[in-house]
Symmetry: C2
């Protein structure tokens, strides 16, 4: 279905696949703009509580998907692990933004890395792994330590195993389930950074300031702006993201995660969605990543990505959210909670944005 | 029912009476904090689209009100013209914040003015009017021009008539329906300002910066901070609001509208709710008036009322909202739309907040 040339007017409805916290914050941003939301997910979640309409159904149920499509003016999604077939089915009925092309690429670590190389960006050494023999051969070529990752469905460190000696290879191949994989050379990076970018339905592009990311146990712990990169390095990261967005005919917000090494940046991952490392934009910018995604999906003009403050975002993981009352008392801190019932270990329950008067604005 | 000493934890539910744009923005703010909402109104409206649960029923239906009360941890309201009996009925079942005492005062212009005088604040000359004879007598005492206003159910210039000559008195008394009224001497003010204040369940008090307000055809057109008042005058307005909040045992956000005259402020109106002249706090402060109201209602610590920018709020009335696409393109502007279907004349469809780097912060 061709994309409509007219924007979705206020009062229109954005369909969102997925009911997690990203869907919740997208729905809240749509609400600010006078748009309705219809959240579709195979299980209820935080986004249901703030959505105009909710559907609980499997992602491979054509009748329910078709009924959903009839109630919305465009569809987007809050996570990349929805079936590609679902997006392709919906695309025949209603605009889906970003489209299947972007999703197909970002669902596969191998495709991501190949795209980055094609666009002239650096990555870690990598190779496709389809067998124990592949793994042994590529480990010998790339060297160790290396990281074996499933090509699909990995996040927050899931689906990956570090290999430090050839003797560990067989166990690693077992551990990831002997499925199509990628082996990546271990990068001794200076730091991890990300670019949160947005591309409009007319190809316009904007990016928020590069963000410094720190992980704990493979889960994002802290994001900070400014990231402290040299301006030329930051500009290169923003430009790589632009090329990725153009190559994927992307519409909406996406994140590119990089390793910063010796003044250059290596592409690590592409996320075809709003991203945890962009949550600081909710308080440090007039237009957040969530609002800009909704604007792009609705065919509206993009909003400014400038920030008015330096910022730090801290994730509240599992029991850390029990400190909400203390955090709520902290001047200069903005508390965001996702309304999740159980504070299970490793579960993202909310985040704090701490602002400081900007010393680093151009 | 005594107020609970424990705050309502994340995941709890705030009941909201009224489904207009103020209820909508309250629900969005509750969503940021991980709280659910249940909106109750006699007609569907913009707040329904972002609420977790909705009830459409009359405000005098005890069974439905009781069922509503069972689903929520506290109740608040977005407008002051709900029946006092509704609030009293609910108060027996669940905490209602602000309480009936505050609502009873703010529903009656005469009570408001008397309270202000009792607290040592100035007001326009005023008198109670219960008959054509009262009106004739008080017009002679106060002089003209004067304004005859119904004691109850007035907003945006409704329920009031200006009287410039004694010969107009009989028609004015007819025009407002010969109901209990108040006559007020016309104040030649320098400007109109308001204080948006919040009082917590523990009696803590905070106020946003005094706001300058300009009306068009009795509807708020523009609010600006800083207001340009002398610091002592602004401090006096903030202090009067504090005394009003204390006197009413108030919990939540409220607005006090003043006339600024010759370096003093005269109390004009008290609004027991979030207020249109506080919409700039949504973008110029880390914690908006809506979030602070929800925090107070939930028994949470109040958030900081500091602003990081100078700001101007412009209401989008009726067809003005058709300019949304142009406004969405404007850097430095934040667009808020309420999702109302019909852009009827005089209807508040949304607002714009325009920020400028703060030159006026202490």
């Amino acid at each position: 279905m061709p994309l409509p040339s007219q924007p979705i007017p206020p009062g229109g409805t954005i369909g969102i696949l997925g009911s997690g916290q990203l869907g919740r914050m997208l729905a809240l941003a749509a609400g600010k703009l006078g748009l309705k939301t219809h959240v579709y997910c195979d299980a209820s979640g935080p986004a249901f509580d703030v959505a105009t309409a909710r559907t609980t159904a499997k992602f491979d149920h054509p009748e329910t998907l078709a009924a959903f499509a009839r109630t919305v003016d465009a569809v987007t999604y809050e996570f990349e692990n929805i079936p590609l077939a679902t997006v392709r089915f919906l695309e025949a009925l209603v605009p889906v933004r970003p489209g299947a092309k972007a999703l197909a690429c970002a669902q596969d670590r191998l495709n991501e890395k190949r795209l980055a190389r094609e666009l002239g960006a650096g990555t870690a050494d990598f190779a496709a792994i389809d067998s124990a023999e592949d793994l042994a051969a590529e480990l010998a070529r790339i060297g160790m330590p290396s990281v074996l990752k499933t090509r699909r469905f990995g996040y927050d460190g899931k689906g990956q195993v570090k290999i430090t000696a050839a003797s560990e290879a067989a166990a690693a191949w077992q551990a990831i389930g002997q499925q199509p994989a990628i082996i990546e050379g271990f990068v001794k990076f200076d730091c991890e950074v990300s670019v949160i970018a947005v591309r409009g339905s007319d190809g316009t592009y904007a990016a928020y300031d590069v963000t410094l990311n720190e992980h704990r146990e493979h889960i994002l712990h802290r994001s900070t702006v400014p990231a402290g990169l040299a301006p030329a390095t930051a500009a290169r990261a923003v430009d790589i993201a632009r090329r990725i967005g153009d190559a994927l005919d992307y519409i909406g917000v996406f994140a590119v995660e990089f390793f910063a090494v010796d003044g250059d940046v290596l592409v690590n991952e592409i996320a075809p969605r709003v991203h945890n490392s962009g949550h600081w934009t909710m308080d440090a910018c007039l237009v957040s990543q969530f609002e800009n995604h909704i604007r792009a999906v609705a065919g509206w003009p993009l909003g400014a990505t400038a920030r008015h403050a330096d910022a730090e975002m801290i994730n509240l993981i599992g029991p850390e959210a029990a400190e909400w009352r203390k955090i709520a008392s902290e001047p200069g801190a903005s508390l965001h909670l996702y309304g999740k019932r159980e504070a299970r270990a490793g579960r993202k329950m909310g985040h704090i944005n701490r602002l400081r008067p900007a010393r680093s604005l151009k």
